[in-house]
Amino acid sequence: MKCELIRNELLNEQYYEIDHDSGLKIFVMEKPDYSGAFAMFGTKYGSVDTCFRLKGQESFISVPEGIAHFLEHKLFESEELDAFERFSKTGANANAFTSFDRTCYIFQCTGNFNENLEILLDFVKAPYFTEETVQKEQGIIGQEIRMYQDNPDWQVLFNLLRGVYHKNPVRIDIAGTVESISEITAELLYSCYNTFYNLSNMALSVAGNVSKDEVLAIADKMLKKEEKAEFEQIIPEEDEKVAQSYIEEALGVDIMKFALGFKENHSEPVRSAKETLLMNIALEIIGGKVSPLYSRLMDEGLINTSFGKEYFTGRGFSLPIFTGESSDPIKVKDEILKEIAKIKANGISEEDFDVALKKLYGAEIYRYNDVDDLAGNMLDAYFNGSNLFLSIDLYKTVTKKDVENLMAVSFKEDNYCLSVIK
């Protein structure tokens, strides 16, 4: 077992990174002045993993849309007590989520930490699927899907992804459709589980009022050494250009929602901490609250306080997006394009760069406040091939020129999509 202590002086924070004998990567940040602790057990497996095979298997299998999320729901069940019932005896607040490229099981508690961690490691490593329980879940998830279909903020984003990408599986809904989940069987769930829930594809991240030794004692007790499961995936080739430059849907909203995304084309599937920081600076300079664009759009009554920007990334996809509500989304899109062209032509001023950097530095500090963020950020950084403290150190090294170079390649005036919910 390898255990390394990683420290950052500026933040006055540290955490342990452990290669556990079982094959699992473990992160622990001890925060003794907190009342509670947060644990996250995750796998690098999400809705985009739709076609794969274990090494040595003859053929690839294509699985129904939404199966990763379905599997997340079903893992809570077991032959005896389900995981929720077990956690109700310890008082932990347990949950799980599935995103495009990962599935995570979490709990937060102020007491009984060891017992809770045992339950977490136990139920995630003990799948139990039968045809009857699969059927029962279809009703519940069917309603979850319907709920999101009525959510304009969700729909505007998924429509955008369908507009930007031709084949990239990020364009399918995380929960799938009522039709696709009806094709899910217990056997398919086991195939997914055996491929992606191997400890070598997972990580455990804990932050809060716990010690590294406690966490390791439980891991030693609960986890058996696993042979690494190697798998292969088929990732469809994606066209450089967006599929559509405009996409709209009528939900009968009182105020229209929009999302504008610029398609990027990278050869590496995951964005580095530096690329992410540079893009966030660019977005801040283009549309941050102190930008000329923001005040112009506000003065003209074209946006409201919901206006935002984000670098939307994950394994195999990345796009800078602007989102918000407007009575005239097309005009907003035109203004954003104009502003980007202007900044590209004139360059970025030193002052604007400094204001954006200071603001983002503050936002970076905010990420070190809550135990759920801390555990989540350690796991995210690892899954992205980075480490937690990399971004705070980058603030000293990035330059205005880096941002200008990025803007030249990442914001193409002919490679965007505008999604609108009416």
Binding site: G36, S88, Q108, Q138, D150, G252, G362, I365, Y366
Partner: protein, 424 residues
């Protein structure tokens, strides 16, 4: 956490800790929920956006950016039949500032400047600012209505409490907002400063003396008298009246079902602990009757939960269901309440409910914003209570008290949002 009186109707609520890398300051103005709700909601949004020193959006936003991307946001919330107007400012702790700035004190001064020195003319708030904030507030209301879960909940409360002040929306209405003048808001502002209880919350790493002095300094500009301070009052109805079912149709994929109950309370802490535990057993948490039966066993919905609004004595159940299953779900939810009334729950479930409440109370102290919200939620109570006090209260609740509490609950309004395509 502690609360101290600083002057007539003025309190400072603080939680001093080095645990966090950020701090939060909020000003909470306590006003009755009445026919001036729209004016007051507009006022707090106007105050948050600009002031005399930073008269444009850009100037204010530049100031906030220079405080390491501090964020300030206004809100108008309903708490019983009070409308609480809040200005919250979150910033980084000065230990992490790049220079030696007094970040937190600067933040408090900025918030108080917003409250005390808005950018006004002798005729009131400026027209350009009025136009902008009217639009932003109206669009906030639109946006809330586009969230069908929130919309259905709001509609149920409107129907259930149609003769009570509680039915007034704390953001106001679009019609009233459109009609308000800069002069009207100016008059409301002057009156509020002299007559409203104000609670200032501070959370983080600070020196109390400096903060107290700053707050006192600002309020000494006003001639606030104890006798002029108006404390809002909430009417409690212990039993339901005018029981009805209201149906609406919209083009939605999923229907919504919201059921309102009267909890039998006569004031906000009346039998509170027993009702809180009873509500948890009924429908709040994965161990609850609604989760384990209506969701897990019957597969009727993805979410089905109940919440207690103790400052009005109401329990509300919210669920999203297929329109064709509405009656089935309604029947199942009411049947689960009957189970609780008859005492059909295990001792393990009581323990699970108490443990889960304890977890919620204990974890409050681990987040700056939940501490700030806790202090705001206590702003109406005459004795400030900490989360620990709530734990002690709920732990002492007996099985018999839970059953008695459940039997005090009476069903009131049922609100159903039907999916139009299925109803046709």
């Amino acid at each position: 956490m502690e609360r101290k009186k600083l002057g007539a109707g003025l309190t400072l609520c603080s939680h001093q800790t080095g645990q966090f890398k950020t701090s939060a300051v909020s000003v909470n103005i306590i006003t009755p929920l009445d026919e001036k709700a729209s004016e007051k909601a507009l006022l707090i949004h106007l105050l948050a956006r600009t002031n005399k020193g930073y008269p444009t959006l850009t100037a204010m936003n530049r100031r906030l950016a220079s405080l390491y991307g501090a964020t300030m946001y206004p809100n108008a919330i309903r708490m019983g039949e009070a409308q609480i107007l809040t200005l919250t400012l979150v910033s980084i702790d000065e230990r992490f500032a790049l220079g030696s700035e007094k970040v937190l004190e600067n933040c408090i001064r900025l918030v108080l400047d917003c409250l005390f020195t808005p950018d006004i003319t002798p005729n009131g708030f400026k027209e350009e600012n009025m136009q902008r904030e009217k639009r932003l507030l109206s669009e906030k209301i639109d946006s809330e209505n586009d969230d069908k879960i929130a919309y259905a909940f709001k509609r149920m409360l409107e129907e259930m409490c149609h003769d009570e002040a509680f039915s007034i929306s704390p953001l106001g209405t679009k019609e009233k907002i459109a009609a308000v003048s800069g002069r009207d808001v100016f008059e409301v502002w002057k009156k509020l400063l002299l007559t409203c209880p104000v609670q200032i919350n501070v959370t983080g790493n600070f020196e109390k003396k400096g903060i107290t002095a700053a707050v006192k300094e600002y309020f000494s500009r006003l001639d606030r008298k104890e006798n002029d301070i108006i404390y809002p009052h909430t009417e409690f109805l212990t039993e339901s009246y005018d029981v009805k079912t209201v149906k609406e149709k919209q083009k939605v994929q999923q229907g919504k079902l919201v059921i309102g109950f009267r909890a039998g309370m006569t004031y906000d802490m009346d039998n509170f602990a027993a009702i809180k535990v009873m509500n948890a057993i009924f429908g709040s948490g994965t161990f609850s009757k609604l989760f384990t039966n209506v969701r897990e066993k019957m597969s009727l919905c993805y979410y089905c939960s109940s919440r207690l609004i103790n400052n009005k004595g109401i329990i509300a159940v919210q669920s999203g269901v297929e329109t064709e299953n509405t009656e089935k779900a309604l029947g199942a939810i009411l049947a689960e309440l009957d189970e609780v009334r008859q005492g059909n729950f295990t001792d393990e479930t009581i323990e699970a409910a108490k443990l889960s409440l304890k977890e919620i109370y204990l974890s409050i102290s681990d987040s700056v914003l939940s501490i700030d919200s806790w202090m705001t939620a206590e702003c109406l109570s005459s004795d400030f209570m900490t989360p620990d006090m709530y734990i002690a209260m709920t732990e002492g609740v007996s099985r018999e008290e839970i059953i008695v509490a459940a039997n005090m609950v009476t069903q009131d309004t049922v609100y159903i949002l039907e999916s139009e395509k299925e109803a046709e």
